[in-house]
Amino acid sequence: MSLRSSRNIKFVDSDILVIGGGFGGCGAAYESRYWGRNLKITLVEKANIERSGAVAHGLSAINCYMGMQWGENQPADFVRYARGDLMGLVREDLIFDIARHVDATVHKFEEWGLPIMKDPETGRYLREGKWQVMIHGESYKPIIAEAARKSASEVHNRIMVTHLLMDKVRPNRVAGAVGFNVRDGSFYVFRAKAVIVAAGGGSHIFKPRSVGEGAGRTWYAPWSSASAYGLVLRAGAKMIQMENRVVLTRFKDGYGPVGAWSLLLKAITTNAYGDNYEAARFDEIKSLVGKYAETKPMPTCLRNHAMLQEIKAGKGPIYMQTQKVLDTKEKEEIGWEDLLDMTVGQAVVWASQNIDPKEKPSELTTSEPYVMGSHATCSGAWASGPEDCAPTDYQWGYNRMTTVEGLFGAGDTIGGSAHKFSSGSFTEGRIAGKSAVKYVMELAGNLPQVDEVQVKMLEETIFKPLENFEVGRNEIVAGSVAPGYISPLQGLQRLEKIMDEYAGGIGTFYVTSEPMLNRGIELLSMLKEDLDHIGAEDIHQLQRAWELNHRVWTSEAVLRHTLYRQETRWPGYYYRGDYPKLNDAEWHAFTASQYDAKTGEWHMSKLPVHHIIE
């Protein structure tokens, strides 16, 4: 093919390869440089690290900060909070590890130039809630990117990484990654001694509420293509809690943040009739989840659940009563900056619908589900924990190494450690970065080797959608309908429909069941076959094709984990209609999966949840 013959191939050799230049990746670059002064550290990103990842837009708060210097909170308190929010199932060692380091990260951010708001009376950081501090965060990402650029030996922007490479001699060891340049179509082969995957979680797994061009306004960034999972699970890394998708309550349609409004400004949420409904639903919630209903603060999923019950009872729309709290100019500015720093689209919704939050309440809704590891949810890879405090069966190597040798993770990649957010993801990147340096130094001469045959095969696979289009396009006159291929968008829409209808999306009010999930798996397996027939009309569409690929593989894990867990652990995130209650006797455990690339089989198992903090 003409497209193939002209293709450039580039080889990049590194000691440490960091995939993904969001907060996790930037933290990994910084810390690995600090400890590995002479190492070759390469950061690769599919967009431009100046504005990439979930914080590209900016943020209005840092959601994970202890304030140990003022005795505000201790790491153990944070573990209790995250464990409570996730209905008991988290990796306490990993969360403790992030919490004990995160303050140093935030102090560094401030030193670098991030404006953190101060409480005028105490001089301390202005708290939004117990764990959050308010920032002027429009340039949060460019500031962090500056630190990363000064740390990495090379930053490769606009490279879509599609697959990890495995060692030719030891099949369970990583040897690098491959991908392509989304501008010129060059094929990239990254050979590395250690790889840190710090890619993103997944939006557009489930059908979004918005339609048409509005589909871009998902709560989580549309470029978060679940590459964190799509990359590591196919390399055979053990995954946990992939069923633990998250649903967020946000301002309707714009998905603007509600944190500052509810926690700092103390705006209340009511049904359409002005009733506070959460307390009234306590008994019903308790009948589903038992003692977990008493968790303080009320877990995110249960608050969603209460709202969903109100909507089902015809008591919507649900409103946040913003007009009752904006009594000063300062408060109005805080409320608006909350949106403008991180979700400008919400300001557009208010301007377009003549909603002035000072005058009238604003509608809330629950989002479509997302698959992530860094928010009020903890899907991701099973990782070795910190050497000094992880239970013995939670450590088998270097901190934050997955079950694949030399393959580390940070941010959305790592499972079990919820509530990392921006500062925690950067901190986890730092932990993984230091750990990877140690791993590389101890490798000595025992280096991984890239398998040329595997590379050649992957090159053909990666660029095949361009050929599919070129060939298939000749069969038809014009338009988007062809018998031999589907576009990446058409494939994405099929995926979202499957996940929405069978895996507990908005279309079924988040309900699923064993027969529904099995039917979903059946349809998804056909979509997986059709991935060989995606047609990409240009290199941009080739990026979309591989984003779809990562989303589809992630979705399979979501379906299988959801099927495996026979209980409803997180009502408000999703419901197993056939197992409507929480069942601690059988399911106080992590669900785990491991994909075997040789046989194409998934091995499901339970892993123990150890409580190392009272």
Partner: protein
């Protein structure tokens, strides 16, 4: 609220193409100016709007839920370290806000290599760069061995 580019303001410099996290701002081959090739993958993050030297890029709220007649304009000034917003409602009301974006000069971050190289043994400790000093407390918290209870 997908972005769009005004024909008479864009000079085709490509700053928006370079910055867009979603890779959807491309240069039109005929007009040599940028446009949004995939509005349904636009997160309205305003990265391109802020980066455009000609102020040629604007946003029209997503057609499926935003009525016409609004605008949210922005001016991001790195030199002064501020960002200014002008929000015009469908009914003509206007709101204006200015917020700080950075407290230090751009480019001033001290890279990790400018700190003294850590002791080789420290690689085996739990301490990260700049700790424990940067923590603001004397010691990195650890868990008591007794707390390592397995259930």
């Amino acid at each position: 609220m997908p972005t769009f580019t005004y024909m008479t303001r864009c000079d085709g410099c490509g700053e928006c193409v370079d910055i867009c996290p979603s890779d959807i701002m491309h240069i039109d081959p005929v007009y040599r100016r940028s446009y949004n090739i995939e509005p349904n993958f636009c997160w309205e993050c305003y990265s391109c709007v802020k980066a455009c030297p000609q102020h040629a890029i604007d946003v029209r709220g997503y057609a499926d839920f935003a009525p016409l007649g609004h605008s949210v304009r922005v001016l991001r000034e790195e030199a002064s370290g501020t960002i200014s917003w002008k929000i015009r409602y469908r009914d003509g009301r206007v709101k204006e806000f200015t917020f700080p974006i950075r407290t230090t000069p751009w480019g001033s971050i001290k890279p990790p290599t400018e700190y003294a190289a850590p002791d080789a043994n420290a690689l085996n400790s739990q301490l990260l760069a700049h700790e424990p000093a940067a923590l603001g407390v004397e010691n990195l918290p650890t868990l008591p061995v007794l707390g390592k209870k397995e259930v």
